[in-house]
Symmetry: C2
Subunit: 416 residues, 2 copies
């Protein structure tokens, strides 16, 4: 029988009762003959508690690489506890199980601490051989070990990445991400009650949706799954162990038979629009501006430049996250000699709404449908940006829900 | 400058404030040029919390070796957190420090899990070399690694043992055990306000005092210190970092100039007296009895056999801890065919009071002084047992404090 990877996030292992429920799910999967590697996060709340302790001990000094190694030692303990507890809970059910910590499976990472990147684990550690004998491997997610033999962590959401990396190393086997929702939806069901669970979505769409604000999966884990051709599935850990629980498969585009033009509508309120009036309009000005922002770690999203005809001054608009916008403002004010402009304006009452779908590659008229739908609700579009499979617009934040509902209907996504 | 080992227990690192205070103490010691290895326990309360979680996950099944490996994975995380936090707190003060986990220093253990025994750590791990460069090693106590590369723990109080093992491996260097009392006292100051801190006490005396109920140090750590000639000191972590804080040295008898006949009075209330009336009086009866109890893990302390002249029946009295007495009762009732007696009586309202001192080896009259002092207060002695450096008596538990005070005065231990 085939190897399979399961992953359970923080809310799925929040307390002993939930861990016991997870053990029931794992036991049921094992009873079907699957050879299982199970990745667990820290019990929800634990990571925040540990981060708080580390920050308290280090004081304001906890910035940058100098302290990150010890931060990792403290924070990685959360997943260690859950892996031991789930192993105990499985043994209580008479199953053969053992925990694996990052250093035991030699889950090698690089690029230091705090937000390390996975290089994959060492097959010599015996993990693959162990699960093939029928022993369930309960793996502490989010953690690895550096070349120097120190504990490293992968940054927030890192357990998804652990799961995909393990699935890749075990032979690109299927990876089921159990979470507190039962799949990927066409949009946020809290805003659109008619939102539908998608049966399948392509890696590319999922990547766009993840980076545009759908919080089901970590972007990095989707990238890794796409690169290693790991079939990913998102499903609920809150159903009964034997419940019909199809979830959403994330797979290659060509495995999706009925392609929708648009598969999802996403939104993000953590946006800010920075307008620089009267910038000098000569070659190199934009390059200077964005080089400066990049150096300070400001992640710029949309960019629009509007030149008034015949003038040597231009207006520049860009968007970034709300927290980055404060940094941008500080940096630009401090460097007015390098980048000159007459006036800066920062708007934080904006939201980004996007439609995503691989069908856009071969269909025209998506932009028209989108703009019509927004216009019909009198929603003004501020900035537009597009990629091959998505169109994003920046609008007044007050209209977020209205826009999402209008687009969900306009693209025939409402459940019948 | 010499290598030194410091150890801080759970109450000394109970929260961030206390950890910060410990960092001040360590910083002060480092400023004097000492090359430091610092062993830490889990923050007080954490180990109990983790044990509770492990028991909750395993249910009643958490008995015996079969589950202990995962129990260790869960419980060892407590010391991991503290080691990271103290390392951060030291770096905040500008000091070079790093944490060392059991597997990183290759603290090898044997005899399985839950209460493993230390074999010492691997010098190749680089720990000794690191502290000689001036880097402070912050070591997670209580934990090690088995030959199979699994996490092991040493059982309660194991951090003392870690500290002594590290001191032994670093060249039998001095080991300061920081705790919540400022040294070893002639008796419990809560019972006798005139109790005095001892400047020096011999390993042998400390061993007797530890096993007789003085909870300052773990018996195993004292044994290890004696075997490896590690100079031990007990002192308070609650004094100021630069306070005059002499503590109590635990050392060889010949290093103690002014030997007292009796150095300490100890007591224990966790005692039970089991009387078996009318046992068959023939060779092999006692051997059968105590073999049976040993097999069931009952730790027998005092033993008295009284034969009525000319009868073929004897009465047997033995003592053990109160919790062991329930097991003893169960075992003896179930095995009445192997060990026959007329009637069993178990008294749990008894206490053991002892006087300890290396001076007893060369002085006579200690027993007389002890029995006179008890008699003068009308305290009846039930059972007596002696070793080369201690005399213990079993008495009615109601008289515990009275007996301790009377003996403390009779042996001239009261502070003037």
């Amino acid at each position: 029988m085939a190897r399979t990877v399961l992953k359970f996030g923080g809310t799925s292992v929040a307390d002993l009762e939930r861990i016991s429920h997870v053990a029931d799910i794992v036991a049921h999967r094992a009873s079907k003959g699957e050879k299982l590697a199970v990745i667990v996060s820290a019990m929800s709340g634990e990571t925040n508690k540990l981060v708080g302790l580390a920050k308290g001990a280090a004081g304001d000094a906890l910035v940058g690489d100098e302290f990150d190694d010890e931060y990792d030692v403290v924070v990685a303990s959360g997943e260690q506890v859950t892996s031991g507890l789930l192993a105990l809970s499985l043994r209580k059910r008479g199953l053969d199980a053992r925990s694996w910590l990052g250093w035991q499976m030699r889950m090698k990472t690089r690029e230091g601490h705090g937000a390390a990147r996975i290089d994959g684990f060492d097959e010599d550690s015996g993990l693959g051989a162990a699960i093939d004998t029928g022993q369930i491997a309960v793996i502490a997610g989010f953690q690895g070990v550096t070349e120097e033999g120190r504990v490293s962590t992968l940054g927030r959401g890192g357990s998804d990445t652990t799961a995909v990396a393990v699935a890749a190393a075990l032979g690109s086997v299927p990876c089921d991400i159990y979470t507190d929702v039962d799949g990927v939806y066409t949009t946020d069901p809290r805003i659109v009650p008619q939102a539908r669970r998608l049966e399948r979505v392509s890696y590319e769409e999922m990547l766009e949706m993840a980076s545009l604000g759908a919080k089901v999966l970590q972007t990095r884990s989707v990238e890794l799954a796409m690169n290693h051709q790991v079939p990913l599935r998102v499903l609920s850990s809150f159903s009964g162990p034997e419940a019909d629980n199809p979830g959403t498969w994330i797979c290659n585009e060509d495995e999706i038979v009925e392609k929708q033009v648009v598969n999802g509508v996403t939104y993000s309120r953590d946006e800010a629009k920075v307008t620089l009036y009267g910038m000098e309009d000569k070659p190199g000005t934009s390059a200077n501006l964005f080089a400066l922002l990049a150096r300070e770690g400001v992640n710029v999203d949309m960019i629009v430049q509007a030149n008034a005809r015949g003038e040597d001054r231009a207006n520049m608009v860009f968007t970034c996250t709300s927290s980055d916008s404060e940094k941008a403002q500080r940096v630009l004010e401090a460097n007015s000699d390098a980048v000159s402009f007459d006036k800066m304006d920062v708007a934080r009452d904006v939201a980004k709404v996007s439609v995503v779908g691989v069908g856009m590659k071969s269909h025209t008229g998506v932009a028209e449908t989108m703009f019509d739908a927004l216009a019909s609700k009198n929603i003004n579009i501020d900035v537009i940006s597009t990629s091959e499979i998505k169109i994003s617009v920046l609008i007044d934040a007050d209209y977020t829900e209205l826009a999402v509902r209008a687009l969900h209907t306009a693209f025939d996504l409402d459940a019948t």
